[in-house]
């Protein structure tokens, strides 16, 4: 299956069928920091993904301000 990744934007091929959590594991990605989207629909980690599926793995982590400074401001 073709998997679209971000940061940096790239596409990789992963053999299916495979559960979403196993695709994440194969790409060394943490579940808690990513969403798996199949054809614009969100799927859970135990969803079985097939070779024909168009998959996006979207990172969800953001924020650049230094945490340890007094500022309570991040990119809002």
């Amino acid at each position: 299956m073709r998997v679209q990744l971000s940061h940096p934007a790239r596409t990789v091929e992963v053999d299916g069928p495979k559960r979403a959590r196993d695709v994440l594991r194969e790409l060394n990605l943490v579940v808690e920091a990513h969403l798996v989207i199949r054809d614009d629909e969100l799927v859970t980690e135990d969803e079985l993904l097939h070779d024909k599926d168009r998959i996006e793995i979207r990172p969800v982590i953001s924020g650049g301000s230094q945490v340890e400074v007094k500022a309570d401001q991040k990119s809002p």
Partner: protein, 312 residues
């Protein structure tokens, strides 16, 4: 996997809540968590005017959407930082959200353009004053959001800080034993003195992953790219560590941050203490009048340094 509530097909699993939800039940869950945060921390009421700080990212657009859907009077301010394509793209996301969702619900979008008012974009300003971009950005945004909230007479300013942001910041402060910053780590900062807006973080009960999922499921188009100036920031490392712990042991982030808040609340009226402390140290900046602990506030100092360097 089926939805814990309605038993239809689930689209997201939340191990920290031992639950899985379909789209509609997940949206209800997110709205409930925000309503609970607002109520339990006495953030604001239905008659208050709220100014949401929006960036085009998932958290701030989700926050604006949720507050409007919950029936609050929420306008927003976007600060255009002048970071090339990134700022152009993020403004486009905000503008489109405002046009299609917020304005039809009666809300207004304010904008502030750093290049117009401060004379240069963040990247250039940071170079001029020899400070990291994130810290320059923080100073300008904090100043302009507070100024807009006061000038437009909003009752409260809301930011999109989520559970991951707060847990990562707490971890950073604890690792470096920055105890003096812990007082300011609650989800509500009072309007302690004249000229200082009340600030709240209604998303502190939700993780980044839940907010990104909320956006995907509700068709909110946000900027996925990370700010090019933030790459390698320490926040991201703390978040990564916490997410590895969370994956192994669900609930770690909330236990860490909420546990901290519980301990804070047991201290004698924490917000009163914070207001009293603020009143003792804050006074008007001699240049602009905004509250500061020094004679001249950090924004005016920054701008004075930038102008001196620019005129050379």
């Amino acid at each position: 996997m089926n939805c814990t509530k309605c038993k239809t097909k689930a689209v997201i699993k939340l191990p920290r809540h031992h639950a899985a939800f379909c789209k509609d039940c997940f949206t209800c869950f997110v709205h409930d968590q925000v309503a609970k945060a607002i109520r339990s921390q006495k953030m604001f009421g239905k008659d208050d005017r709220i100014l949401v700080a929006v960036s085009g990212g998932k958290d701030s657009l989700a926050l604006w959407d949720i507050l409007l859907k919950l029936g609050y009077k929420a306008d927003a301010l976007y600060v255009n930082l002048g970071i090339g394509n990134y700022s152009e793209q993020s403004y486009e996301k905000v503008r489109r959200f405002a046009e299609t969702v917020a304005v039809p619900l009666g809300a207004t979008l304010h904008t502030h353009t750093v290049e117009l008012e401060e004379g240069a974009g963040i990247r250039e300003l940071a170079k001029l004053v020899h400070r990291p971009a994130c810290s320059t950005c923080g100073t300008i945004k904090r100043y302009q959001f507070n100024r807009a909230a006061i000038e437009h007479e909003y009752d409260v300013m809301a930011t999109g800080h989520n559970l991951d942001d707060e847990a990562a910041r707490l971890l950073g402060n604890v690792l470096h034993w920055q105890e003096e910053y812990l007082d300011k780590q609650g989800p509500v900062l009072p309007a302690s003195v004249e000229g200082l807006a009340k600030k709240v973080k209604p998303l502190y009960r939700l993780t980044e992953r839940e907010l990104a999922a909320y956006c995907v499921l509700n068709g909110i188009d946000y900027i996925v790219d990370e700010c090019p100036m933030a790459q390698g920031a320490r926040t991201l490392h703390y978040k990564e560590v916490l997410n590895r712990l969370e994956t192994e042991s669900p609930g770690t982030k909330q236990t860490f941050y909420w546990g901290f808040l519980e301990r804070q609340s047991k201290k004698a009226s924490a917000s009163t203490t914070m207001a009293e402390k603020d009143q003792a140290v804050l006074h008007p900046c001699t240049t602009c009048g905004q509250p500061t602990t020094a004679d001249v506030c950090s924004y005016c100092k920054l701008m004075a340094r930038a102008k001196t360097t620019m005129s050379r």
